[in-house]
């Protein structure tokens, strides 16, 4: 057994208790039977460089900044100027915004419709998606059916728009014929009436994107801990109660990610809306991004367009932040885990 030399010069290696820092090194004392230290380090070593990580992040961050921050500042600049067909961009301060919020009926209407549209799409997609996932989860045909159900998702929204335009068409559309035949529609096609056009759009979105929710929910269902289910059943829960008490809470983060994805894309993509209705008839489907498209690209009122774009951007990001926050919350994290 080697003898240890400790600061203070004491030879303690042969003491019966080995080495106890108390009494040898300053600051160490015993309290409540435990040795503690009441001191700070004299000097800290310099922090190691993390340039390494920085270099790894830089290319992506720089690319993103270039293609997102730069346009963003450009948007802000434009929104404060009167940018239209005529050359010479006049500074107008907040006039563009003032117009939007005081006398642009299409702007408020666009928001209202966008909220309606997104809410309807999300609601039905989640409802239908979860229902189908639950039914599929216990089906023998799960694999085959999921594969088939996924197909709409793989279709470009622009193509989907064209195909549905064809189906809805009042002259030769088979869906139109079907809806007429079962008495749902008169001779006015679904996109031809302000009262039904929005439903027509929502149906297309549901058709295309419910599979996403199905897929994500199925993944969630596979991770519902069986012990929780069994415990609940032993406790006397029926299947329906089991679903609400055990399955649904476990699906929570999965549904959130589905909602987040759909929410982002619902605001982002208007390909099919542009093709199907272009915002009409009578502004019934003139959701804000479509109106923005008109203002910027048809009227060439880029200043006003930028103001609309900014409001859209800000609201999207705030809502997105909200969703991500929930998403990061501990409740959403503890999935598939059983305590004990």
């Amino acid at each position: 057994m080697a003898t240890q030399v400790l600061p203070g010069g004491a030879l303690r290696g042969d003491a019966p208790g080995g080495i106890n820092p108390v009494g040898i090194m300053p600051g160490f004392v015993t309290r409540d039977g435990v040795t503690v230290l009441e001191a700070e380090p004299l000097a800290r070593n310099p922090e190691p460089s993390r340039r390494y990580y920085f270099y790894m992040m830089a290319p992506a961050i720089i690319t993103l900044a270039a293609i997102s921050l730069y346009p963003f500042f450009w948007l802000i600049w434009m929104s404060l100027h009167d940018v239209d067909i005529m050359a010479g961009d006049k500074w107008v301060g907040l006039k563009n915004f003032e117009r939007l919020f005081t006398r642009d009926a299409k702007f408020s209407n666009g928001w209202l419709l966008l909220i309606q549209y997104s809410a309807m799409c999300l609601f039905f997609e989640v409802l239908l998606g979860v229902l189908i996932a639950v039914l599929l989860n216990r089906s023998r045909w799960e694999k085959v059916l999921v594969t088939v159900f996924l197909m709409p998702m793989m279709m470009a929204p622009a193509i989907a728009g064209l195909v549905w335009y064809y189906l809805y068409n009042g002259t030769f559309g088979w869906y139109h014929w079907f809806m007429q035949s079962v008495g749902l529609l008169g001779e006015t096609s679904i996109l031809g009436s302000p009262s039904t056009a929005m439903i027509g759009l929502v149906l297309v979105d549901i058709w295309q994107w419910t599979p996403l929710i199905v897929l994500i929910t199925l993944a969630g269902l596979k991770r519902v801990p069986r012990d929780q289910l069994e415990a609940n059943m032993v406790d006397g829960a029926g299947e329906i109660r089991n679903f609400f008490q055990v399955v649904l809470p476990n699906l929570y983060p999965f549904l959130l990610i589905g909602i987040l994805l759909r929410f982002m894309d619902n605001f982002r993509f208007i390909d099919s809306v542009l093709i199907l209705t272009g915002g009409g008839p009578a502004d019934a489907t003139n959701i804000l991004p479509v109106y923005l498209f008109d203002v910027s690209f048809q009227y060439f009122k880029l200043g006003r367009g930028a103001a609309i774009a900014l409001t859209l951007l800000v609201v999207t990001i705030i809502l997105g932040m909200f969703l991500v926050k929930i998403f990061d919350s501990p409740a959403a994290r503890n999935v598939g885990r059983t305590e004990g």
Binding site: I85, M86, G192, G278, P281, A282, S296, Y299, F300, K301
Partner: protein, 508 residues
Amino acid sequence: MFYVPKNAIYKRIPRRKFLELGGGVATALGAGSVAVGLSSVVTRSPVQAASSDDAKWKQYSGTKLVFMSENTPPSFAIRENLKPFYDLTGIEVEILTDDLPVVQQKVGIDLRSGKADFHLNYVQDKPIGAPFADYFANLNDFINDDTLPQDPDGMGADAWFENFLDVCGTMYTRDRLIAFPYDSAVACTFYRQDLFEQHSPDFEKEYGYRMEFTKDTTWKNVYDFAEFFKKLRAAGQDVPYGYAQHQGSFAWTAQLDIQRLMYAHGQWTEFDVDDKLGSKEPGPTRWGDESSIFLMEKWKELASVAHPDNLANDTLQLNTVYQAGQIAMQVQYHEFAASIEDEKTSRAAGGKTAYAPCPKGEASWIKNGGQAVNGTSCGIGGIGINNNASDDLKRAAYLFAMWSTSKETQYNVLKGVGGTPTRKAVMDMPGVKEARQRPTDMPNALTFDAVYDYGIKDPHFVLGPKIPEANEYYQIILTEVQKCISGQQDPAATCESIRDQVDDMNDI
């Protein structure tokens, strides 16, 4: 084989080669054209006024130009047949085609930012010409330049059909000419002669006059026809609707549609400005006056007897409805005649359809004291030159503008894909006169009587409104009229709402 410029984005793969190589290889072949950006080259050999015509045409040999066009048949046809132009001038032209909104946007940004990615632009009269008039080169400069070749038929107003040069070339001032007419779409009435004849006796019993369509047929008559057909349908007969409107999502043609009714009754226009010139500051609109409200009521009545899917039918869709035999009459652009006469796509083909001018104003409906005319509106696509380009590029572009609107080119397009000429001289080309009567190999020519000999002439022809905010104006009209037709607001409120928005748009 057609000539294909070396850097052509659009490369044609011959059928035989395609079959030989198989699709995959053909795909790879196409890859050669992938990384082509927009580029221009200009080379010039100096010429003088006294030089030969050939030298004048050839002075920019080796130059490359870009023409941004809408995806319409004339541009496809010209793009496929550029070799004569290359042989004539040695200039390579790249023709890009896009959807109208995309063309608007790209051309707009190009023009406004002082650049010239596109030297030649498709100037759809009001949607592109009216907003961007200031950015196009003044073509008068080139017409009067004796170091440039000139078209033997001339480029002045007389060379084109009446009013055509004004429609797309004159914006706000006569000092500048911004475009030459390149193709045209003029409204006229397409109706099912077979059905009209079949039902005329019954109609006459009820309404007291024959069911036929002439230049004196009024909007009131149109209402009667439509009502008659609707009644027949209600009685269970297998007949189409009598009439339909262009009130679908295409705002421009929706506005042109109601404009024809308004103009027919006392030549009502929306602004108190010279219709042929237009104005950048048109002043307060006439929407909301007695005339407009009364006619809006009539428009709504017409809608009530028309095909019920009005709000889904934009111009193209409406034509499909007519093709499918679901309406007996439409006021439609004459460029669509070819598709109506195509047995493969249309049930109205084979002599069933006859063509007449647009309906006339009904005297009793006129509230502003004006005259009753056959209100006819149009879309004339012009070809204009980007003023941001260098002088030499502009001059080279002028060569193409001139060539692409020459009577030979137009004649070729007419024969090939059924274009709609803008040059008078085309009417005298071989076979064109004969083609105006059935049987015809140029179906669009069936409309020429109604259009070129009648509709486009004063006092029937309405050009405007030429205002920089034309596109926003169309959207306002479309939305409000749709609200009116769908019963969301009454005609008076509709006209007032239009007035308020239009005046707001014009800072009144």
